[in-house]
């Protein structure tokens, strides 16, 4: 079922997709950011897909991927945990986007057809901006505000792109990998 989903997106938008894969049963399409709005509208309105439910919008900062601290004493144990019989290991994860620091990740679900799809939109560090989905789903409003707050990725066409969890005077974007986890900033409240 996941494959049929991926195919229908790939057939409809031959130029939009950079890749598509299924990993651990999650169908995923990697998209150029120019075509995000178009593909999202197609997902929502196409009668065969009817992805009417925007589950989640988030982002991942891939700038430190695979550069974590080395194990304390022993060499890496190789990590390959035996997969269970239900989930075949034949599917392999293609890895983070090649030359983009951020990936904005969307999860969609279809209440009618009960299938899920993930869209990954790589976004370079120099111009961290993608199109806003608020015109299609009002629920995207707060989710995108959170991504802006935590990652500093802007959403073009968003009606009210303010910080949401942090306060306006907060400097930096906390979930970026170059934001130190133990950094402290004085809490300065808004002046009103």
């Amino acid at each position: 079922m996941e494959n049929a989903l991926l195919e229908s997106v790939a057939n409809r938008f031959p130029d939009a997709g950079l890749a598509s894969y299924t990993y651990r049963g999650d169908a995923t399409v990697v998209l150029r950011r120019e075509s995000l709005l178009e593909v999202a509208r197609f997902l929502k309105e196409d009668s065969a897909l009817q992805m009417n439910f925007l589950v989640d919008v988030t982002a991942v900062d891939y700038s430190a991927f695979g550069k974590g601290p080395a194990p304390a004493f022993f060499a890496s144990s190789g990590v390959s945990v035996r997969p269970s019989p239900q989930i075949p290991e034949s599917e392999s994860w293609p890895g983070p986007p090649d030359d983009a620091r951020f990936a904005v990740v969307y999860h969609f679900y279809s209440m009618t057809h009960k299938h899920r799809l993930r869209l990954v939109v790589p976004t370079p560090e120099s111009t961290p901006e993608v199109d806003s989905l608020t015109s299609l789903w009002p629920g995207a409003n707060w989710l995108e505000r959170e991504v802006w707050d935590m990652f500093g990725i802007r959403f073009a066409g968003h009606p009210d792109l303010r910080r949401i969890l942090m306060y306006e005077e907060f400097e930096g974007h906390a979930l970026r990998k170059d934001y130190p986890v133990n950094k402290r900033q004085p809490l300065i409240g808004p002046h009103n």
Partner: protein
């Protein structure tokens, strides 16, 4: 970077004088962050015309504790205590959701009995969550008795939780690849006893509320939302089901053993506060039935068949014997640990945890008693080792008490997660709150906000 100002902040204005020569003035009312009706801490800036809310701006983030950032700094099992503090009224569901997401990423599955244990515990949590929500809403509408009754019922359920996990609130019960320990002896009886009391409370509360004129007048037709609007805002859970949409993760994308347990999904028709109340009341009954069915169906483990225990040796003594190399004295022994760890011994282990050695702690007897067990424990707790899923990403949704609770985990093969994202169910509902409040009377804000069941820990993370 210049931040856009809230559109709400400077809109207090004086309108043109009307025909009678009177001028009206919009009033800005600041509700919260510290306000008895704002469960936890959020702030609503309401623009009022008389008693009617013209516009409302909802400000959240007062309880932000950087859950997602902290999750990147500790090992995979170390995140579990943090998940307790997301929805702190039903922490077992968070535990389960997070662990299942990591298990999906690892590609492992847990034994069936473990699934049942998790389902039982999360349904008990769901009942206690709904009790809190309905009780608090009723209290804010003046029905203090109901609140006390429901907290009393929650107490019975938390006693069950305490029996199993050793804690009432911050349970940390699930582990990647299993649960901490098996159910204690006599749990089924304790459950039926607690449910008897809970059902009594539900009956009493329903008698006090459902046909109560004051309660019904304030709940009926307030805070109404249509199914289309609710879906477009990403609302799930009882809030969505009150509108008539039937989406329930347990039914539509069944996980664990929910597909083997018959239960009904109650839905409303009008999507107002009354329907949300009724849906929650019915869901509690359904959750209790799920637990009862699950306790009947749960595959036999040592707990329910009176364990054929080995020679009991107190754990501390076992450690001492092992340290001096007296392995003969402890081989065939069974570690006696604290009451809430009783079900973690070798006897119980195969039924509550997967046999994947790279993800699951060994039984206590093995840790103390043989070098393989000790090494395995060591490899899992040492910094930089631990559970190490292969590179990849996985999203796993479970049905939280407020709706779809999803965990999106990205791994780069290290001992700590590269990224953990929670999809908090009440975030979506809160984003629709200003739309829900617009046009309502200010007094209706209380039941509407109450039925959102905002949980600060989950909303702000």
């Amino acid at each position: 970077m210049a931040m856009q100002k809230s559109p709400m902040v400077e809109t207090s204005s004086i309108s043109e004088p009307d025909a009678a020569g009177l001028e009206t003035r919009d009033m800005m009312l600041n509700i919260g962050p510290a306000h008895p009706a704002m469960h936890g801490i959020i702030r609503i800036i309401a623009k009022l015309e008389g008693e009617q809310i013209e516009a409302a701006d909802v400000e959240i983030g007062y309880l932000h504790r950087a859950f997602e950032k902290m999750s990147e700094t500790v090992d995979y099992n170390g995140v579990v205590p943090y998940t307790d503090r997301l929805n702190y009224v039903s922490p077992l569901i968070n535990n389960m959701g997070y662990c299942m997401a990591v298990e999906k990423l690892l590609g492992i599955s847990v034994p069936e009995r473990c699934h049942y244990v998790r389902v039982i515990m999360s349904e008990i949590s769901r009942v206690s969550d709904h009790l809190t929500c309905v009780g608090a809403t009723a209290m804010e509408l003046g029905a203090f008795t109901v609140f006390l009754y429901m907290i009393k019922a929650r107490e019975y359920l938390w006693e069950l939780v305490e029996k199993v996990t050793g804690a009432r609130l911050t349970v940390t019960y699930c582990r990647v690849g299993g649960v901490k320990a098996d159910l204690p002896e006599g749990f089924a009886e304790a459950c039926s006893e607690a449910f008897k009391e809970t059902r009594k409370v539900l009956e009493e509360s329903s008698a006090l509320l459902t046909r109560n004129r004051i309660f019904a007048d304030r709940m009926n037709d307030t805070g109404a939302i249509s199914a289309e609007d609710a879906i477009s805002f990403g609302i799930t859970g009882p809030f969505l089901r009150a509108t008539g949409a039937t989406y329930d993760v347990r039914k539509d994308c069944p996980y664990a053993v929910y597909d083997q347990i018959p239960f009904e999904v109650p839905v409303g028709t009008r999507g107002d506060n009354m329907d949300r109340y009724l849906v929650r009341m019915e869901e509690m009954e359904q959750s209790m039935r799920i637990v009862e069915t699950a306790l009947e169906q749960i595959p036999g483990g040592p707990v329910l068949v009176n364990p054929e225990t080995g020679r009991p040796i107190p754990a501390a003594e076992m450690v001492d014997l092992a340290k001096v190399g007296n392995i003969d004295a402890i081989s065939g022994g069974c570690a006696v640990v604290g009451p809430t760890l009783e079900g973690s011994g070798r006897l119980y282990h195969p039924s509550i945890a997967t046999d994947e050695k790279r993800a699951v702690f060994p039984a206590k007897e093995d840790t103390y008693g043989n070098i393989e067990g000790l090494m395995r424990q060591f490899k899992l707790v040492m910094h930089g080792h631990g559970v190490r899923p292969p590179n990849g990403e996985a999203y796993f949704p479970v049905e939280g008490a407020n709706g779809e609770l999803g965990f999106y985990v990205v791994s780069d093969g290290a001992g700590n997660a590269y990224r953990v994202r929670v999809r908090p169910p009440c975030f979506a509902i809160m984003s629709a709150l200003s739309m829900l409040l617009e046009g309502e009377m200010i007094a209706d804000m209380v039941p509407t906000f109450g039925s959102v069941n905002m949980i600060g820990g989950e909303l702000d993370r």
